[in-house]
């Protein structure tokens, strides 16, 4: 869409756009470019200038079994978290869309989960699912030693999945409810006249029409799982036990700032950047005209 009426004083346009361009140049484009440079060089441990090493850093990354462990953990985390969060939100949205008494109150309260900082979500779930205190401690009272995320990797992964799924559920709910409310009423009513029951209508009309929203949310949930994972992991498991919750983003943070290995961290950063760009590309490719939310 273009404006017919435009201004011609280009100096003004330049001045208006300059602050943002300057900031994104310094804090976005230059760092991303620098990551590429570092990923291809190695700083010798005893000084003496950087050395161009080609793809050696990437080889180091891809031949590291810890890296592949993080890839597997991240994929399991992202997919099961998104699956859990979106399906819970979908069921809630389908029922909230029946617009019985108080449906707006649900939208209002469910969304609150999204406003809680990831770090606070992490600490809250660490307490909730602690083996010796909180909610799950009852299980351990009955079956001693059954639940201990500090020692059991699978349980630790479940802990971070549940925490992040909880955080995203309200957000997913708001988008799914908005998507459902844009499904034409007449369509649903016509199906009802044809004798389709409520559950049938949900399955055969409402859910299929929601596919673009569901896909959009899947991509957003996966991207957010890279972004929020620092706070959640840092405050629940710290990547452990035995790297069972070492998500890709958290590994970059540890390698770069605890291990001080900028070359390796930069190579991993680039891989993650490519992944993010691919995800965004898919999102546009498949959901070109996204649903109208009004």
């Amino acid at each position: 869409m273009e404006k017919r009426a435009t201004f011609s004083n280009l100096w003004v346009a330049g001045l208006f756009v300059a602050p943002q361009l300057l900031l994104i140049f310094v804090f976005f484009y230059w760092p991303v470019g620098e990551a590429m440079y570092w990923a291809l060089t190695l700083e010798p441990p005893f000084g003496g200038g950087n050395q161009f090493v080609g793809l050696q850093n990437f080889e180091a990354v891809f031949s590291d079994r810890h890296y592949w462990n993080s890839v597997v953990v991240s994929v399991i985390f992202a997919l099961s978290m998104a699956g859990l969060s979106i399906s819970v939100a979908l069921v809630l949205a389908l029922f909230a869309d029946r617009r019985l008494h108080g449906h707006q109150a649900y939208r209002f309260t469910f969304f609150l989960t999204y406003a809680v900082p990831a770090a606070a979500v992490g600490l809250a779930f660490r307490f909730l699912l602690a083996p010796d205190a909180g909610m799950v401690s009852v299980v351990n009272k009955l079956f001693p030693g059954l639940w201990n995320p500090a020692l059991n990797g699978t349980q630790a992964l479940i802990l971070v999945i549940v925490a992040q799924a909880w955080k995203m559920a309200g957000y997913n709910f708001v988008f799914l409810l908005a998507g459902l409310q844009s499904v034409p009423r007449a369509l649903v009513e016509a199906a009802a006249m044809d004798g389709a029951g409520v559950l049938r209508r949900m399955r055969d009309i409402q859910v299929p029409l929601l596919t673009p929203t569901l896909f959009f949310l899947l991509v957003i949930n996966i991207t957010d799982s890279f972004v929020d994972s620092f706070g959640i992991v840092d405050l629940t498991t710290g990547g452990g036990p035995a790297r069972s919750t070492m998500l890709l983003g958290y590994k970059i943070y540890l390698d770069g700032f605890e291990g001080k290995d900028y070359s390796l961290a930069s190579a991993q950063t680039l891989v993650l950047i490519v992944l993010m760009i691919l995800l965004t590309f898919f999102q546009f490719r498949f959901v070109e005209r996204r649903v109208h939310y009004r």
Partner: protein
């Protein structure tokens, strides 16, 4: 609904109430745990109703986490990010929508690209720039042998270091752009007829019309900044002076493995303190929050 289905209505309410319980339980449990003393919070099973020690625990968490100072830092930081985003995005969206020049689409795509890579993804290289914000200019001049001309400008441990890299993405620009595109052309034509220049038109017509958008964007950005975790953790090197609220939680995690007492009541009180500003803003301004979220699609 379309038909009368009493049984299904009961089911609907049951599902929604169950959802409500599941989604609100963690917040409730944090509140309950924050209101009991040390002995009660470690009892199995944990109590489900609040006790009488909320204020004691809040006071203890407040002191242990130095939240008096930390909250001031966090608010300045969040307000700085909010103000920066609201102002810069409005300016750049105006330059992209209301002018026609060859570089316009280049600028548009340059700004748009930043949406793909949030700061969490590029912390390592962004940190290097924060350590010396003039580094890009230094490095460019170094290519022609003039690197020494540019002084260093360290942003670590400063408000500019916390705020500027977070402003450097285009979250708001597209919200404004969408909105500006819906504004009738006649307004700009009339302004031009009256002899108003672009700056005049921007300040006297666009800004007042954009108030709703600004409120929406400001709400989203404030909550977003309050929730930042990893960037403050890295850019703040002196936690005594510049720590933000979410960073302080790490300090109050009880680790019984290392022989510390499981003072979950204090830890949960701190969690409550950290949750409250974004929650309150969301509750008060939810109308704007959802409007901004849905129309910008993040």
């Amino acid at each position: 609904m379309v038909e009368r289905t009493p049984l299904l209505n009961v089911l609907t309410h049951a599902v929604l109430i169950l959802g409500f319980v599941v989604l609100m339980a963690p917040i409730w449990i944090v509140f309950v745990a924050a209101s009991h003393d040390f002995a009660t919070v470690n009892r199995v099973p944990v109590p489900v109703l609040p006790g009488g020690h909320l204020l004691d625990n809040l006071a203890q968490a407040w002191t242990e986490g130095s939240f008096g100072r930390v909250m001031v830092t966090t608010m300045l930081f969040a307000l700085g990010v909010t103000a920066g985003k609201v102002v810069l995005s409005a300016l750049s969206a105006f330059a992209i929508v209301y002018f026609r020049y060859r570089l316009r689409m280049v600028f548009f795509w340059m700004i748009f690209t930043t949406l793909m890579l949030p700061i969490e993804i590029r912390i390592v290289p962004t940190y290097a720039v924060a350590a010396n914000a003039l580094k890009p200019f230094h490095d460019m001049l170094a290519l022609v042998g003039l690197g020494g001309v540019v002084p260093e400008w360290n942003l670590l441990n400063s408000y500019s270091g916390l705020i500027l890299p977070l402003i450097a993405t285009a979250t708001g620009t597209f919200l404004y752009r969408q909105f500006f595109l819906t504004i009738p052309d006649e307004l700009a034509e009339a302004a031009k007829m009256d002899g108003a220049g672009p700056v005049r038109f921007f300040l006297d017509v666009l800004v007042p019309l954009s108030r709703t958008n600004m409120a929406a964007l400001a709400t989203i950005m404030f909550v977003w900044a309050c929730n930042q975790y990893v960037w403050p953790l890295i850019v703040v090197t002196d936690q005594q002076t510049m720590a933000t609220a979410t960073m302080q939680l790490q300090k109050l995690v009880p680790s019984p493995l290392f022989g510390q007492p499981p003072v979950w009541n204090v830890a949960m009180a701190a969690t409550l303190i950290v949750m409250i500003p974004p929650l309150v803003v969301t509750i008060l301004l939810q109308r704007w929050f959802v409007r901004g979220l849905v129309s910008s699609e993040k």
